[in-house]
Symmetry: C5
Subunit: 325 residues, 5 copies
């Protein structure tokens, strides 16, 4: 197994330092007022995680939760530190949606972040810090906001992509419903259920930050967290709207199919209703009765066609009146 | 790009002044107890907006929110000022619904309003102020009420228009459901989802004004805001009722189509059930068996018609009894 | 326009007086502890309403609300007086449901009531007061209770009528669903939506009276208002139950129609499946091949009938086994 | 009208007395610490009820509520006494569900109970008191608990019966859906709506007893009422689960019927698709063209059968491939 | 009946003792600070349960609840002890879901647990205690947590199994819906309803522990109970998501079946529409009119085939244009 590099970032308004490290022993944490960020980019490194847990005196349940990838977003206050799980959402190249779980432990001046795999979600933040954004002037709580905000922003991309896909499927269902449309509606519905399932606990967790009065979070930073909270609410709203539209589409699909069956039935009925009586008539004059006077009439065959034409016209008019074509 | 004109209005119970301006430098804000209203009629003018933000010391998030047109209505208290986003709703000439976002910043004696584009929604208010309505006697909070009220009133027009359209589609679905009805129900449903999505956060924002105890809002003005709140609740109620009706229509549509298919099947079944047996009978006497005694009977052909008529009558009576026609 | 007569009632435990009046000038309100009731029976008389508003110093929004007939029930406390809108419900001779809006302004010792048109809803109360009921011994708040109670009682009549209609339609849908049943379910659903829309705000308004601690409402009268509140809750409950039943009926209707289509298909399939093969067989022996040995058999024709009978019996048994008839 | 006997029970831990009475004058209520229970077993006896109301100084609304049989369960505190309406549920011999309304008035040491008709629901309690159960040692509040508990227990029997019926109908719908199944699902749904309608207010009433702090209810008895409350919650839960199952059954029914229609269509299509082309072929060689070479071929007739067989086999294979049989 | 062995466990950080016992007399409970756990593994032993109830002075309702196996999870505080019912869930070898009810009585230093039958759910805990886990250092409240946690963990296994089954059925419904799929969706739905019914009261019970301030539960243990609570919420969430998916599947199934009916109708209509007119044409030239000129044309038969082919091609093109194949 390839050794994964983790990162240690240390900054204040004047200095910025970012170093790779592979095990806890490589790491020297200076005692200072600087903001420190330990970025653990893989959960495979159990030794490292245990070293960290021991060093920072983490509750055994925290370690358990960090490693359990099926966990939902949540916030827990352990007095000395805040523990935050945030489920990120990415769409891979096959448009498949996947949850990436992030754990954050916020101490005074220190954030330890844990992620399942190396992602690019924090790249822009690192660049911004390096280039000296406002974050440099603030504490670790502001960095936490920036990281959470970046994860939430990624949801919007996923949701937008789904929105466009819904529009496509919608047109298809209304204008030309196919067998496959059903599977597509279905796939969207499941994706939405999946995202919603991730968003509700995230909403609670972030609302927990912005509503409570944690010493570790500066009051000024609360405004920012309320903003992230606003974004999550907006996401949930969009998801609910999309789900409404999807349920509508399923009903619409059924109606569309019923419409098509209706059309097919009309064609069948028109053909059958016109030609079955005529076939009977032709059958009558195909009978071999010795005494069948019409057969000997001079205009018998002509009359047959006249009667047939009348029947056709009468039935066509009847169907026309019924608005069948 | 054409230079957009913004407006600066300044009034007290005695004087009224309204001036166009194009950049922040054009503007002289006197220190006085007069009510002042800065009307920024376009969000393209970033310099102007930044100048205002600096001058009035606005929070960076406020500026971000003003420029982000996908934002939902919300109210935020920044102690020194109240920040209010209200999403307006207009219907263009093609009956397409569109959100227009308005941002209001309420200081003591001063309102700064931001809008996406030039609209006529505030025209009647400006006229009323000019002609010396009660607003002239009150503070900036009363002007804020008047502006928000004008935006909310526009919703009623949109909703009324949709209501009339629903009545039309409803009659169509019940009496003569067409393929297009489905698309129309669908369009209404989406419009309603869209409006509801805009109204819920607006409800929270306005309820926030009318329930909290902001220094910037006079207690007397609270009565007015409660009235706007009442209007929003009424709108939400109408929307929910319309959505109920629409869901009912979709079910009704499916039932109507099933009814039509049923009718078509009856026609097909009646024709087929009567003529298929008769065709068989005609086929029998069209057979060329050497020994087929009926063919030589004198009343063979007559009997054939008698039997056929009996079969027809029996079947018709059977279908009649089943209430098929 | 015919002059509408309004009424002025004045009573205490000993005296009762009721006078017609046409304009505010006709009216002499004595200063006394007597309960006074101004009954404005039409909203067309704008002068009168304005005179009253001025005389009793009503808030401009109250006047606006009195005249706006689309308003929902609500309660507003203006310290000096309570303002209550209650939407009444009547069913006209065509079983069409209509809202009648009533506004009540409760002062100490005085009620001003406004109604859209002359109704008989208060007749029994007037009779009871005249004949010296308990109301005579109590204050204006008790009169308000009596008036509101009378309006709420009218709902029960409307709801009962709908209940009976639902039972009728229900039987129809289950036993013999017709095209019209759909429209009838539909009409009921809309009526229920309409009533519910009126009841919810009424619930809030009356709950507002019975829960808050208004000086104008005697504690003893609160028991009575709680009773009215109970009635409103009961009405809402019935409406919800009816809506449940209606939604069930729509589903049931669709299932019933599907059942009928199913039946029709069975008839068609039985007829077609039996006679189409037989027709083919008859067709075979109607062919003119020179060499077609069966035609010359002595028992050819008899065999044909035997084979046909066997086919019929086999198929009938097959369908019987499938429980198709 | 037959005179109905009411009952007067008086007990303490040592003595037990139970007497029939027909009018209020027959009754001597001794002043003592004994628990007294007046059991009014019919509401037809208006004189008696009025006498009781006067004697015990009951609020006029209480009397009105006792006599109004459409009332929902509720609890009202009149300081001196508690007034409790509980709707009981019984299933008659035709499996028809019926509400029996009970009113209880709890004074210190005294319960007055009113019931619509003579029932056996309290029989076991009377026996238990007579035989000296714990109830004898406690106050009137404990008797109230026992009476309410007996009424609630009767619901379980009704609900269990419905549960068994649902299982039956369920199997029917899945395995062999009939026209009548629809009516049966329907009947169950209505029963459940009816029971739920009775349970919700009962839940509020009993929760009202167990949560509030009434002087008339001993704290020790509260445990027992919480137990009854638990039972009511359990009942509501079961009802909701049943309703879920019923809605599912209606959907399932529609799907089952669609399945059956589908099957029927397959049979029709297979028969028609095979024999209609063959009939055409037979028709072709039944034509009387002078020049129709095949008719004179030696193996014409044989070829006809060969071709027919091939057509049949090809089509059967096609349908087989489509999984139609 | 085979004698069931119950268990008595006694431990502190140094010692661990576990003894079988068959009746209450076998049991010697020493007075000590050790944690004691009485494990009653069968409810058939009424004498034992009564002995325990007497010895520990349990409320009669507690005993009743322990023996009533239809009870939902609940928590009740009896001051001296906490009474907790937890419904466990197991899946038997036939994938049938079954509730196992556990009752726990928590005293200071003592837990009495009651279970319906011998299960293996606590085996791992017993092993962990024996081998000296952290539980040994803590009090009886920590043991209660471990026991409840083990029961909750078992739900995840059941839910996971259902999840896999849903995936299977889902693919079936979308790709090849069968009659049996309906029954399978149905079975899953009922299982989910059943589990949800068990989880809601469990949620309340465990939330009751983690939110209230019971003396018997150490504050440190509260963290652990909150974790169990988290797990229950997660389970409820998964169940709700599954229910959503199931409802979607039922709709999808109906649409799939409608699709299939649609396909069948197309086949029928194409065959019928093509061959019925042709059969008529063949019938015409099978007529025996004396004067039927086409019969004597040299190219009559050829023309017949040419016309037939043209009709077939025209109709095929028409159906092709309609996208029917």
């Amino acid at each position: 197994m390839k050794k994964v590099s983790h990162w240690y970032t240390n900054y204040n308004s004047d200095n910025f330092e970012r170093k790779e490290f592979f095990s806890f022993n490589d790491l020297v944490l200076e005692e200072s007022e600087d903001v420190k960020w330990l970025e653990i980019t893989s959960l495979a490194d159990l030794d490292l995680i245990n070293d960290i847990a021991n060093k920072f005196n983490l509750h055994p349940l925290v370690v358990e939760d960090i490693l359990d990838l099926d966990h939902m977003s949540k916030l827990q206050d352990y007095n000395e530190y805040l523990y935050l799980i945030i489920d990120g959402m990415v769409m891979d190249e096959n448009k498949k949606i996947k949850i990436e779980q992030y754990s954050f432990i916020l101490f005074k001046n220190l954030i330890i972040s844990f992620q399942q795999s190396e992602t690019k979600v924090f790249d822009s933040i690192i660049t911004r810090i390096k280039e000296g954004s406002n974050i440099r002037k603030n504490g670790a709580d502001d960095l936490l906001y920036a990281l959470v905000d970046a994860i939430v922003d990624d949801y919007f991309e996923v949701v937008e992509e789904i929105g466009e896909y819904i529009d496509e499927v919608e047109d298809q269902v209304l204008l030309n419903p196919k067998k496959e449309s059903l599977q597509e509606i279905y796939r969207i519905k499941r994706d939405l259920i999946y995202i919603r399932k991730a968003l509700w606990p995230m909403r609670n967790a972030i609302s927990g930050i912005s509503k409570n009065d944690y010493d570790l979070i500066d009051e000024k930073t609360l405004y920012y967290f309320r903003d992230v909270y606003d974004h999550v609410i907006q996401l949930i709203d969009i998801i609910e709207t999309y789900r409404d539209i999807c349920s509508g589409m399923l009903d619409t699909y059924l109606s569309s199919i019923s419409n098509k069956t209706n059309e097919i039935m009309k064609v069948l009925t028109i053909f059958s209703s016109i030609f079955i009586p005529l076939t009977f008539l032709a059958g009558v004059y195909g009978m071999n009765f010795k005494y069948l006077p019409e057969l000997n009439w001079k205009y018998g065959y002509l009359s047959f066609w006249i009667i047939s034409t009348i029947i056709i016209l009468v039935l066509l008019r009847y169907f026309k009146k019924k608005n069948w074509f």
